[in-house]
C-alpha cells in the first residue's frame, strides 16, 4: 500500500541521516587509521639508507642534544628524518607527479620537459662559462697531442631538432659552440661529435646509449689514428627490465611515457681487458647484475664499468705495442671506454673523484702517456673549477 508522502519523506530523511552518521563514523575511523598506520609504520619499519627513486642518501635518526633541542636544530633534523623515512614515501611522490601531469597538465616537472615523442629534456639557459687558461697551459706544458671529444648534451640535440617549445629559454647550442671554440683556442684537437642524433640518447636519461657511444668511439679512433675494433651485432644484448634514467627520477614514472631498453655488448667481447681501480684489478668491464636487478629506478647505466672511479686503468695484457692514452672523462665516457680499451691502453681519470691535491700533468708524465683525450658531455661548466685545481 502506498504511504502518505509526508511519512515517506520522513523515513527517507531518517535513512539519510543514519547513513550520514555511518559515513561520519567511517570518516573518523579511517582518518585516524590512516594517520596511525603511516605514523607507526614509519617508526616501526627499518630505516632506509638510500632512495633509489631520488638517488640520494636519506636522512638518518637524530641523537638529540640539549643544545640542538634548545636551538630547535634537532627538531628540524627530526622532521627531515621522519619525512625522508615516511612509509609510502615513493608512492606519495609518484601521486603528486600524477596530479601535476594529469590534473594540472604541467608539461614540465622539476625542470624536465617531456616531449611528445617521449624524450625527456632538461632545458637550460645558464650563462656560458669561459674555459680557464689552465687548459692552454696544460696543452703547452705536456707537449703531447691533446684531444677533446665533447659530446653535445641531449639538450643541444633537442634544441637543434626544435623539440623544446619556443617559449622556453635554452641556450645549450650557443654554449656548446662557444666551448668547442674555447677548447680549440687552447690548443686541443677537436673530435667533432656533431653527427649524433636524438636516438643516440636515452629517452629518460641524460646520457647517450650504446649506439651514441659506438658512434663516438668511431669518431675518436679515426681522429686519434687508432684501429677501431667494433663488435658484431650478434654480441649486442638488451636488458629484460626497462631502464628509467636520471631524468625519469626527477619527474617520476608519471611523466615517463615508456622506459628505455639498455643495450650493451656482451662481456665476452671485452675479455682480456684488465680493469684496475681502488687498488684492485680484474674488475668487470660489463657488470650484467645492473641490468638483471629488479626495480624501476635501478641505475642500469652502471652496467658499464660499475660507474665512475677516480683513477682507473684498462689494458689488454697481451698487447703492449699499443699507445697509452690518458682519458679525462665524465660518466658519458663509461660506455665508450670498453671499446676504446680494445684500441689502446687507457689511464682514466675522473677529476670529480680524485683528491684535491691530485695533479693531472704529473700523472700523465708518470704514466708516460702518448696522448690525452678529454671525453665529456657539453654540460661541464661545473667542472671548470675542479680542472683549474687538478690540471
Amino acid at each position: 500500500m502506498a504511504q502518505p508522502l509526508e511519512t515517506k519523506n520522513k523515513q527517507e530523511q531518517q535513512r539519510t541521516t543514519s547513513f550520514e552518521r555511518i559515513m561520519m563514523w567511517v570518516t573518523t575511523i579511517s582518518f585516524l587509521l590512516i594517520l596511525l598506520t603511516i605514523g607507526i609504520g614509519t617508526l616501526v619499519r627499518e630505516d632506509r639508507v638510500r632512495s633509489q627513486l631520488e638517488n640520494r642518501t636519506l636522512a638518518q635518526s637524530v641523537d638529540p642534544t640539549i643544545e640542538g633541542i634548545a636551538t630547535g636544530k634537532d627538531m628540524l633534523k627530526m622532521e627531515t628524518y621522519f619525512t625522508d623515512q615516511l612509509l609510502l614515501r615513493g608512492t606519495f611522490v609518484e601521486m603528486q607527479a600524477l596530479l601535476s601531469k594529469d590534473v594540472f597538465r604541467q608539461p614540465f616537472r622539476n625542470g624536465i620537459y617531456t616531449a611528445k615523442n617521449g624524450y625527456m629534456i632538461e632545458p637550460s639557459a645558464s650563462t656560458r662559462v669561459q674555459i680557464p687558461n689552465v687548459f692552454r697551459q696544460f696543452v703547452q706544458e705536456l707537449d703531447r697531442p691533446v684531444y677533446m671529444a665533447l659530446a653535445p648534451s641531449k639538450t643541444v640535440i633537442a634544441e637543434r631538432d626544435q623539440l623544446i617549445p619556443s617559449y622556453v629559454a635554452s641556450n645549450a647550442r650557443t654554449r656548446y659552440a662557444g666551448m668547442i671554440r674555447d677548447f680549440k683556442a687552447a690548443g686541443m684537437t677537436n673530435l667533432s661529435l656533431d653527427q649524433l642524433k636524438l636516438t643516440d640518447y636515452f629517452k629518460t636519461d641524460h646520457h647517450w646509449n650504446i649506439d651514441g657511444a659506438a658512434s663516438a668511439y668511431q669518431t675518436i679512433t679515426k681522429g686519434m689514428d687508432l684501429r677501431p675494433v667494433m663488435p658484431s651485432k650478434s654480441n649486442r644484448k638488451e636488458g629484460e627490465h626497462a631502464y628509467y634514467g636520471s631524468l625519469a627520477r626527477k619527474t617520476t614514472l608519471a611523466y615517463a611515457t615508456s622506459g628505455d631498453q639498455l643495450a650493451y655488448y656482451e662481456p665476452a667481447f671485452f675479455k682480456g681487458i684488465n680493469v684496475c681501480y681502488d687498488g684492485a684489478c680484474d674488475r668487470p668491464v660489463i657488470d650484467e647484475s645492473f641490468v638483471q636487478q629488479e626495480g624501476d629506478y635501478v641505475d642500469r647505466y652502471e652496467v658499464f664499468l660499475r660507474g665512475n672511479h677516480g683513477i682507473m686503468s684498462m689494458k689488454e695484457q697481451t698487447k703492449n705495442d699499443r699507445p697509452t692514452i690518458l682519458v679525462l672523462k665524465d660518466s658519458f665516457a663509461n660506455p665508450v671506454l670498453p671499446f676504446l680499451a680494445k684500441s689502446a691502453n687507457l689511464e682514466v681519470v675522473d677529476v670529480r673523484y680524485v683528491p684535491k691535491s691530485f695533479d693531472v700533468s704529473q700523472f700523465a708524465k708518470q704514466k708516460q702517456v702518448d696522448s690525452v683525450l678529454f671525453l665529456h658531455n657539453s654540460n661541464i661548466a661545473g667542472l671548470m673549477k675542479t680542472y683549474e685545481n687538478t690540471l
Binding site: M78, R89, Y167
Partner: protein
C-alpha cells in the same frame, strides 16, 4: 611545528587525539595544554617561556582588573596591560624597524637590535589583550584557573597563525563542551580541505609568484600572472590555515568562528575586509575603532579613526614601511567608499567586483614587495608596460595555467554550491562522495607535502 608537516600529521595529531579521547573529561584540558606547549616548543623552545610569561602577566592583569574594576586605578591597570603587551610585541617585532627608520630619517648610527621574531607573537598577544579588555568591559567572568587561561592562549590549533579567537567565543567551551562524531567528521573534512588548500594550491601558486617576483623587466602579462598567483597563494595559505585550525578545534569539540568568506568576490574594499581575515578586522573594530568613537563622531574624526586603524592593520602585518603603505592604501579606499564611492559602486555590481579585485591586487604588490621602488616598478609593469607579452609569460601560462584556473575557481563559492547540490541530488552517493573526498584530499595533500620541500607559511611572520 607546522600543521603541514609529517611529524604533526602522522605522530603528533593522532597521539593527541587518541589520548584525549581515552582520558576522563577532567584531564582533557590539561592534556590539550601540555600538548599545545609541546607543539609550540617543538620549533622554538626558548620562546615557549615568553609565551608563558605573556599568559602569566595577563592572568594577573585580568585578576586585578576584576578586583579593582570600580576604582579609578583600574584605568592605570589597563594602561599598564596595554603597555606591557605592546611593549613585548614592539620589542620583538618592531625594535629593529624602529631604530633603522630613525637612523635613516635623522642620519644617526644607533645600534640596530637583531631580534628574532617569536612564532605567533602577534596572534597570542592579541588573544591575551582581548581577554583582559573583555574582562574590563564585563563581557566575561574572569578566569580564575590559570591553566584554563593558558589553554585559551596556547591552544595549538590557533596558536601560531590564528584565527584570533576571542575569549568570549570559547570561554564556555573551555569549561564544558560536548565532543560528537558529527563535529569530529566535520572537523576532519575541514582540516583536510585546509591542508589541500595550503599544500596544493597555495604552494603551487607560491612557486609561480616567487619565480615572477624574482624576475626583472616584466612584461604586462607576466606581471599580472605573478600578482594573481600571489593573491591566490596568500588566500589559500591563510584561509587553508584557518580551515585547518577550525577543523582541528572541531575534532576536540571547540567551535571557532569563520575567518574567511570568499573575499575575492567582494564588491567594495570595505566588503573585502569584512570577508578577509575576519577575526583581525573585527578585533581592530572592537578594540580600536569603536573605543576611538567609531561612527558615532563627526565625519572628520571618523576618517581619523579609520586612518589609525588601517595604519595599525598594516603595521600588524609586518615591520616595514611597505606594510604601513599597504594599510594606508586600504584606509584611503575605505574612506573614499565611506564618502561617496561606496554608493556609486553599489549601482554597478559586476564592475564593482572587478574594480575591487584590481584594487586588492595592486594592494598585494605593496604587500609582497620588499621596497617601494620594487613595488612601483611592478605596478608600472602591470599598467604602463614596455612589453605586453613575452615568452616567459607563455611559459607560465602553459605550465601553470590549469593550476591557476583551478585556484581561481576554488577561491569562489562555485565549488561549494555545486558540491552542496550534488550531495542533495545524488543522495547516498553524494554523501559518500562528500566524506570520501576528504580522504582523497588527505592523500593528495600528503603527496604534495612529501614531494615538495617548498613549504613556507606566509602568515607565520606576523
Amino acid at each position: 611545528m607546522l600543521f603541514s608537516s609529517t611529524i604533526f600529521l602522522f605522530l603528533f595529531l593522532p597521539t593527541v587525539l587518541i589520548v584525549y579521547y581515552l582520558l576522563p573529561r577532567s584531564f582533557r584540558n590539561g592534556w590539550l595544554l601540555v600538548t599545545s606547549l609541546f607543539f609550540y616548543a617543538f620549533g622554538e623552545p626558548r620562546f615557549a617561556l615568553l609565551m608563558l610569561l605573556s599568559v602569566t602577566i595577563n592572568y594577573f592583569f585580568a585578576l586585578f582588573v576584576d578586583l579593582y574594576r570600580h576604582r579609578i586605578g583600574v584605568k592605570w591597570i589597563m594602561f599598564s596591560m596595554i603597555a606591557v603587551n605592546l611593549g613585548l610585541l614592539g620589542w620583538f617585532k618592531y625594535s629593529g624597524f624602529f631604530v633603522r627608520s630613525v637612523n635613516e630619517t635623522f642620519g644617526l648610527g644607533w645600534f640596530v637590535p637583531e631580534v628574532v621574531l617569536p612564532l605567533g607573537i602577534s596572534f597570542y598577544t592579541f588573544h591575551a589583550m582581548s581577554y583582559v579588555i573583555d574582562i574590563y568591559k564585563g563581557k566575561e567572568a574572569v578566569q580564575k584557573n590559570p591553566l584554563d587561561l593558558a589553554l585559551y592562549i596556547a591552544f595549538f590549533p590557533q596558536l601560531v597563525a590564528g584565527p584570533i579567537v576571542r575569549y568570549n567565543t570559547i570561554a564556555s567551551q573551555i569549561e564544558s563542551r560536548e565532543e560528537t562524531v558529527s563535529d569530529f567528521a566535520r572537523g576532519v573534512r575541514r582540516f583536510t580541505i585546509g591542508l589541500a588548500k595550503k599544500l596544493i594550491l597555495a604552494n603551487g601558486c607560491g612557486q609561480v609568484a616567487d619565480a615572477i617576483f624574482n624576475m626583472k623587466d616584466l612584461s604586462m602579462g607576466l606581471a599580472w600572472i605573478g600578482i594573481i598567483a600571489y593573491a591566490l597563494q596568500i588566500y589559500f595559505d591563510f584561509s587553508g590555515y584557518s580551515d585547518m585550525a577550525i577543523g582541528l578545534a572541531l575534532m576536540f569539540g571547540f567551535h571557532f568562528l569563520e575567518n574567511f568568506n570568499y573575499p575575492y568576490i567582494s564588491k567594495s574594499v570595505s566588503e573585502f575586509w569584512r570577508r578577509w581575515h575576519i577575526s583581525l578586522g573585527s578585533w581592530f573594530r572592537d578594540y580600536v575603532y569603536i573605543p576611538l568613537g567609531g561612527n558615532r563622531v563627526s565625519p572628520w574624526l571618523q576618517y581619523r579613526n579609520l586612518a589609525i586603524v588601517w595604519m595599525l592593520t598594516g603595521l600588524w602585518h609586518g615591520a616595514s614601511w611597505t606594510f604601513v603603505a599597504w594599510g594606508a592604501y586600504y584606509g584611503i579606499w575605505i574612506m573614499l567608499e565611506k564618502a561617496f564611492l561606496g554608493k556609486w559602486l553599489e549601482k554597478i555590481p559586476v564592475f564593482s567586483t572587478v574594480w575591487t579585485l584590481v584594487l586588492v591586487l595592486v594592494g598585494w604588490v605593496f604587500f609582497r614587495s620588499e621596497t617601494f621602488p620594487e613595488a612601483v616598478t611592478y605596478i608600472q609593469a602591470m599598467f604602463v608596460p614596455d612589453v605586453i607579452w613575452d615568452e616567459r609569460a607563455s611559459y607560465q601560462l602553459v605550465q601553470n595555467g590549469v593550476l591557476l584556473f583551478v585556484a581561481c575557481i576554488a577561491a569562489t563559492p562555485i565549488p561549494k554550491i555545486i558540491g552542496e547540490r550534488l550531495v542533495v541530488s545524488l543522495g547516498r552517493i553524494g554523501t559518500t562522495m562528500q566524506y570520501g573526498y576528504a580522504m582523497l584530499m588527505l592523500f593528495l595533500a600528503t603527496s604534495a607535502l612529501v614531494a615538495s620541500t617548498f613549504n613556507p607559511f606566509i602568515y607565520f611572520r606576523f
